[in-house]
Every structure is written in structure tokens, then in C-alpha cells.
């Protein structure tokens, strides 16, 4: 907080001085480009942070510009009301687009296509709906910012817009330094993992898209006051490409990236356009393509990397031990799957499989490849929908519920290939898991940079040495360490039953023994029910109370390790011998 203030105050001061002493022409350019920078930052927020490439960020921007133009040409002193209406309109229209795009989980490129198409269609609507939009010529003579019956002079409008833009951009920086920033990066890097931690990722994406829309709306209102007119081109292809170019060039993964990109390209355009207009536009196209091919991350992150600085501020969240009451009285029915049918096309992955986990057990699920083990684990954690049967958690029906609701009820999952958030540090990964206890986006913007982590997770971190590597980016960990980190993440939040898919894959024999000992300890110390998919018989002998065998999508056998090892059917499916 103090450090961001140290950066913010001089920037604001410099912007204020620049605006007042550069003269109306330059100051006017500065305010114009900064209002566009706010638009680019809104794209940086949804694209760079949440990973949603929106090519139609002009939709909220343009709608807000038209709205502000209509309101203030009729009532010049209503600028502030128009600004609020613009933010609301931008947020609303983006929320509608987001619901369409994310609720059905459209592919990312389709979302890009949809947003661009919506924007281009609005351009045509604006051209033809003359009564409201003024047709091709648009709306002109939009007054300057005004209040209480008078409007600002040009100089003071430039000053006001400049200051407002800097404050808004600083607000975005502040917002993203909260836990929500880490959650958005998590969704960008690995949405499945974040959802399995208990975050409603679709809801968060709709939220961030709406916030981006509100920002773009405010940018549109400032822009139209500054330019004094709005025409259908505000939704058009040219501006759409430009916004993406500025954001891309500056670097979308840091908030200042889009600002730098916008100012750089626009001041260069303004300087070169008189002499060199056509070639300059051609050059922007070439720069665009070259940037995609050679510097896809953008200038600011690339420069930071060359200078050896981290692109994300590595202010580590403070990890604290969560004080927990004594383990809840074991509930008999923890998790129950009844007569599950699952097919992929004509292939029946699971047929009538029933499985119940009760409080005091550590169960292993085994079976030959293709038996349906991972599919069953997916269904037990809400990752996949199934055609028949029912799933219940702690006696409540959860059939058809999304994965994040399973996770919030306490179902923690570790995937087969380790799923961690590569670009976040070890500590941030753990904090992300712990913050899932208050997963609404608004709470995540207010929550402190402190995570209360379960004792079990801290124990895993301590015993594996990860506790000393809090600052390491998770992507730089070894395979085994990623496995440990993911197990710790699964434990860090509300974990009432743990599902592990091949936790020892890729580990050495010694490491496997360590995992076995640790799991046994967690199981006894916290009365934690655990279900493990495994192949390694030595490991299974070391941990399992009970073993369930699946073969070809059906339940084959169930019993203690000794019983299973003596079972003729089981030997038959594993060794391929009959009877």
C-alpha cells in the first residue's frame, strides 16, 4: 500500500503539471490519449489478467460515448450523471455479453469472434438508426464536462480528464494487488484448477468482464467530452484493431503496459501522421504482426524480464496457520455415488458403479488402464457430468452441480498431471487455495493479502521443504515438488474429503513412501477421509484401509488389501489369466 502510494503521488503530480504547462494543444492530446489508455487498461484487465481476449471492448466504450453525447447535448451540466450512466451502461452491456459467452463456456477464440462481431454490428446499427445516433455523421457539438449550469474551459477539461484517467488507472492497479488479482491470473493460467478449489470461475469471469465494461464506459464518456463528437466509427474495425495493438505492444500482463502502449503509439502517430500518414498506418500494421510473432508478451513485461525484475509484484501473501476446532464428529456418509452411468459417445466408461466413502477410511481405487478410475474421480468432484445415477455429499444430493460447489462443500481434488498456477509463486498458490473460503469477487477485492491455511497444508509444506521456497514461481518447481504443492493446495482450504489421482506418479520410491506416511498421518490426525487412485501396490499396501477395484467401467471387487490380493477375479483382469 505504501509503496504503491510512493509511485502514485509523483505520477499524479507529473500528470497534473504536464497538463497545465504543456499548453492546450499538447495537454489536449495527453487527455485524449489517457482516456484511450483507460480503454486499453480495461482490455488489459479482461485479457491480460483474466485471459479473455475481447476484440469488442469498443462495445461498452461506444455505447457510453453515444449515451453521454445524448445526455449532455440536452443537459450540459449533467456530466457527472452521464459519467455514472456510462459506467452502468458499459457494465450492463458487457455483463450481457459475458453471460452469453461464459455461461456456455464458449471457446476463447469464439468469444473473441463474438465480441468483434457484436461491435461491428453496432457500427452498422449506429449508421442506420438515424433518429438516435445521427446516422453516418454521428452526434456533434457535445459540450465539455460541466456541472451546476456551467462547463469547464478547455484547459481545465484537459486537466480534469488527465487527473481522472490517472486516478482510475491507479484504482485498477490497487484492485489487482488484492487477492482478486491472483485469482484472475489463476483463471487465466488454469481455470480448471481454480474451479476445483471452489471458485465459481464463470461468475468471476462475468464479474471481471463487467468491471472492464464499466471502465470502458467511463473511458467512452471522457473521450466524447474531449473530442466533442461521436460517429459510428467508434465501434469500427480500425479502432478495434488499434486498441488491441496498444494493449499488445505495451504488454497486457501489467496494468501500466496498456497505458505505455497507448501513449507511445498515439504520440508517435500524432508526430508522424502529418509527414507520413499512409506509411505510418502501414507501419502500425507491420508492428502489430511483428509484435505478435516476436514480442507477444509486450514491451513492459519484456523490458522487466530483461532487467531481471518480476512482471508481477512478488509481494508474498502472509501465510498464517488457521486455528481450527477439534475435528468434526465423523459423519457416516461422507460421499456416496449410486449407480453411476457415464458414456462418451458409444463408449461406456462407467456402468452402474456405486461407491460410498465414510468418515474413517482411507480407500484406494485400482483397476487396469481404461477401467474408468479417473472418470469416477471426475464425477465425484463434479468435474464431469454423468448420464445416470446420483452423487451425494454429507447426505445432500449434489447430482449435476458444478465442480466449484463440490469444492466448497469440502471435496478437494488433486489431478493426475499436477495442476498448479505456473505464473504465481508457491505462497500465492497456497493463498489462492485458502481464499476460496470467501470466493465472491467483491470480497476478494477487499480481502487482505493474508491467507489462513490449514495445519495439514502447512505440515505438507514444512515436511517437503516448500515452506522455504515461498517466492519461487510454481512453474519453476520440479515435477515432484509440483505434486506436493498441489496436495498442499488441496488441503489448504476447506477440505473435508480428499480425492487424489495418482499422487505418486513420477516420484521416486523413497518419495512415494514419504507420501504414504504423510497421507496416513493426515488421515489419522484430522480424521480426513481419503480416496486415492493408484497403481503402485507397495504404496497401496502402505496406506489403504480398503481397496475398490474397477474393471471396464464396472465394480469388480471391494475389500481389504489382503482380500483383494487374494481375489481370483482381480488377478485375472490384471494378469490376463482366466479363472
Amino acid at each position: 500500500m505504501r509503496r504503491s502510494l510512493i509511485c502514485f503521488a509523483p505520477t499524479l503530480g507529473a500528470a497534473a503539471i504536464a497538463s497545465l504547462y504543456l499548453g492546450d494543444f499538447r495537454a489536449g492530446q495527453l487527455s485524449l490519449f489517457l482516456s484511450l489508455a483507460v480503454l486499453a487498461v480495461s482490455l488489459g484487465l479482461v485479457w491480460g489478467y483474466a485471459g479473455i481476449l475481447s476484440l469488442g471492448q469498443l462495445l461498452p466504450f461506444g455505447v457510453a460515448a453515444y449515451l453521454t453525447a445524448r445526455i449532455t447535448t440536452a443537459h450540459p451540466s449533467l456530466s457527472v450523471a452521464a459519467l455514472a450512466a456510462s459506467a452502468a451502461a458499459g457494465a450492463t452491456i458487457s455483463a450481457i455479453v459475458a453471460v452469453i459467452a461464459f455461461r456456455r463456456r464458449l471457446a476463447l477464440v469464439v468469444v473473441g469472434l463474438l465480441t468483434l462481431m457484436l461491435s461491428l454490428t453496432f457500427e452498422q446499427i449506429a449508421q442506420q438508426w438515424r433518429d438516435v445516433t445521427g446516422g453516418f455523421n454521428g452526434l456533434t457539438n457535445v459540450p465539455r464536462l460541466g456541472a451546476f449550469g456551467s462547463t469547464l474551459s478547455e484547459t481545465w477539461q484537459n486537466f480534469t480528464i488527465t487527473i481522472a484517467a490517472v486516478v482510475i488507472i491507479a484504482g485498477v492497479v490497487l484492485l489487482l494487488s488484492r487477492p482478486i488479482g491472483a485469482v484472475l491470473v489463476g483463471i487465466r493460467d488454469n481455470e480448471r484448477r481454480v474451479e476445483a478449489l471452489g471458485y465459481n470461475t464463470v461468475g468471476i469471469k462475468i464479474w471481471v468482464f463487467s468491471v472492464g465494461g464499466a471502465l470502458a464506459g467511463v473511458a467512452g464518456a471522457l473521450y466524447v467530452h474531449r473530442t466533442g463528437f461521436v460517429s459510428p466509427g467508434i465501434f469500427g474495425f480500425t479502432l478495434a484493431t488499434n486498441v488491441v495493438l496498444w494493449t499488445l505492444i505495451g504488454g497486457r500482463s501489467v496494468v501500466v503496459g496498456p497505458v505505455v502502449g497507448t501513449l507511445l503509439i498515439n504520440f508517435a502517430s500524432a508526430a508522424l501522421a502529418d509527414v507520413w500518414l499512409q506509411y505510418w498506418v502501414l507501419a502500425t500494421g507491420v508492428i502489430f504482426v511483428a509484435a505478435v510473432m516476436f514480442v507477444p508478451d509486450g514491451l513492459v513485461p519484456s523490458i522487466l524480464r530483461v532487467a531481471g525484475r518480476a512482471t508481477r509484484r512478488r509481494r508474498l501473501p502472509q501465510i498464517r496457520e488457521r486455528t481450527e476446532g477439534p475435528p468434526a464428529k465423523p459423519n457416516d456418509a461422507v460421499m456416496e455415488a449410486a449407480a453411476i452411468d457415464k458414456s462418451f459417445g458409444s463408449f461406456n466408461a462407467l456402468e452402474g458403479v456405486s461407491l460410498a466413502i465414510d468418515a474413517a477410511e482411507l480407500r484406494c481405487l485400482i483397476g487396469p488402464n481404461g477401467a474408468g478410475k479417473s472418470t469416477l474421480l471426475d464425477i465425484l468432484s463434479g468435474q464431469q457430468q454423468h448420464q445416470g445415477g446420483a452423487v451425494a455429499l454429507f447426505g445432500e444430493d449434489y447430482t449435476g452441480h458444478p465442480a466449484w460447489e463440490f469444492a466448497r462443500r469440502g471435496v478437494s481434488r488433486k489431478f493426475q498431471a499436477p495442476q498448479i498456477i505456473r505464473s504465481l509463486s508457491v505462497a500465492e498458490n497456497i493463498a489462492l487455495a485458502a481464499w476460496s473460503a470467501r470466493p465472491s469477487p467483491w470480497e476478494l477485492t477487499r480481502a487482505a493479502w493474508v491467507a489462513d491455511v490449514s495445519t495439514g497444508a502447512l505440515q505438507v509444506l514444512d515436511s517437503t521443504g516448500l515452506a522455504d521456497r515461498h517466492a519461487t514461481p510454481a512453474g519453476d518447481l520440479s515435477h515432484g515438488e509440483k505434486q506436493w504443492l498441489e496436495i498442499a493446495m488441496a488441503l489448504a482450504g476447506t477440505c473435508r474429503v480428499l480425492l487424489l489421482d495418482e499422487p505418486t506418479a513420477g516420484m521416486t520410491a523413497a518419495e512415494s513412501i514419504q507420501v504414504a506416511a504423510l497421507l496416513r498421518e493426515l488421515h489419522t490426525r484430522f480424521s480426513l477421509p481419503i480416496l486415492i487412485v493408484e497403481h503402485d501396490m507397495a504404496f497401496i499396501r502402505a496406506v489403504a484401509d480398503r481397496v475398490t477395484v474397477l474393471a471396464r467401467g464396472r465394480l469388480l471387487a471391494d475389500g481389504t488389501v489382503a482380500e483383494i490380493e487374494a481375489n481370483r477375479d482381480v488377478r485375472a483382469v490384471y494378469l490376463g489369466v482366466e479363472g
Binding site: I100, R105, A107, L282
Partner: protein
Amino acid sequence: MSRTTDTTWRRRLNALTLELLNGLSLFATLAIVALGLGITFGLMGVINLAHGEFIMVGAYVAFVVHEAGWSHWVSVPLAAGVLFVLGAVIEVLLIRRIYRKPELTILATFGLSIVLRQLAELVFSKDFQSAPNPVPGATEALGVLFPTYRYILVAVALGTVVMTLLGFTRSKFGLVVRAIVADRDLAESAGIRTGVTNVLAFGLGAASAGVAGALVAPLGAVEPNLGLSYLPSAFLVVIVGGFSRLWGVLVGALVVAVVQTTLIHYYDAVWALIASLVLAVVMLQMRRSSVAGATA
């Protein structure tokens, strides 16, 4: 009495016929305009935002052919050839390097569209040029007069679309392309040269845009921004028709043409646009699996 009724009915019937012909011509235009997008996205998972500019280049080919004093009909195959080469070059220089990152292909073609538009402006200026209609005048058929050129446009456009689609669905090349769509790595390890196939697919997508450009050139002005006016409808057709099946282009073009023609007739162009948007959104909501599957 009976005589007036008779003429009223005849007038209504003629108006209806005219609307049907307008709709048919829109359908054919949409189909040929969207064909290339459908090929590059459906087969390669690449959203080509420079598709409109490929159409624009095709239209300029028609303009140049006219300036050179040749017949307009030369421009259709010539535009296809020019654009095939352009598409192939772009595939090799750009698209090939970023296949596995769909986001980057969107961005690269976005930048490419600026480059192509600006090059057109540098070479031909911003002025509106024209490639005059080779067969001015109208033909009387079914009781109404309809521009002769549009009849030919419908025939050539639909002919090209159907031939291309048959080529992709019935030939060995089509089979190879579909194998790559299904699983690029598997196709490669089965000995399919995905590189060559991609060049051909992207080139053919571009060539179809060239045909579209040469065909629509006489309908209006030839100018650097020509492609931009066709791009939204082309996207619409692809979204409505679905991404995974190539024949979706025809279905999408038909649905969009019917909706737009009907609404323009009864209301106006704004409502036609809004209805098209709603249609696209409804289609996206209904067809979750195929949409997600297209780029999975």
C-alpha cells in the same frame, strides 16, 4: 371487379418473387463470402480476421482487369489464383508459426488486415474505383425484371461453394484435412504432411475470398475498406451455420439471408441487423458442444 383483383394478386406475386430473388442473391453472396472463413476456421481452427481484406484484394483484381481492358470474367479465376498464392505465402510466413496458439493467429491476422488495407490505399489511393458491370440490364423471368448480373452471380457463387465443399468432403485431400482437424499430432505421426495440407487449405480459403471479391466488385465501389462491410455478415454466417461442419456455411447463409430479407421487407435494416445478432447469440447458446469442440 375481377380484373382489379387479378392485377392486385399479380402485383403481390411479383413483389414476392422479387423478394425471393433478392433473398437468393443475398444467400449466394453470403455463402461465397463466408466460405473461406468456414474453411480456415472449421478445418484449421484459425480465425482469419484478414478475410475481408482478401475479398477486397479480389475486388481490386477485378478493377485491374477492367483497366487492362479484359473481360470481367477473366477476373474471377484470376482473383482465385492471385489470392491462392497470397494465402499460401501468408500461411508459410505467419500462420504456420503460431498454429498452436489460436489467440495469436487472431492477432496476427488482425495486424495483417491493417497491412493489406494500407497497401491497397498506397497502390490504388483511397478513391472509389469501379469494375463496371459486364452485363448491364435486366432479364425478365417469372414475371419480374431482375438484374442479369445477379443471376450470373448466384450461379457462379453457389457453383463455387458447392464444388469446394464437395471437394473437401468427397476427395482424398478432404479426408486428409479432416484427419488433421480431428487430431493434428496423430495425423502427423500417421505420415500426413500437415504442412502442405495447411498451405493448401489456407490458400483455398483465400482463393474463395478472391472469387467473392471479383463477383461483388461490380455491385458497388471498389475501395480499401470494401472488405470491412462484408466481414460482420461473414462471421454471422459461420456462427449460425456452426463451426464443425463445412456444409454449415450453406445452412448459415440460407438462415441469415431469409431472416435479413424478411425483416428488411417488413421492417427495416436496423431490425434485420438486430435480429441477426439475436440469431447468432441463440445459435451459440444452443450449440455448446460443437462450438467448444471446434477448437478443443
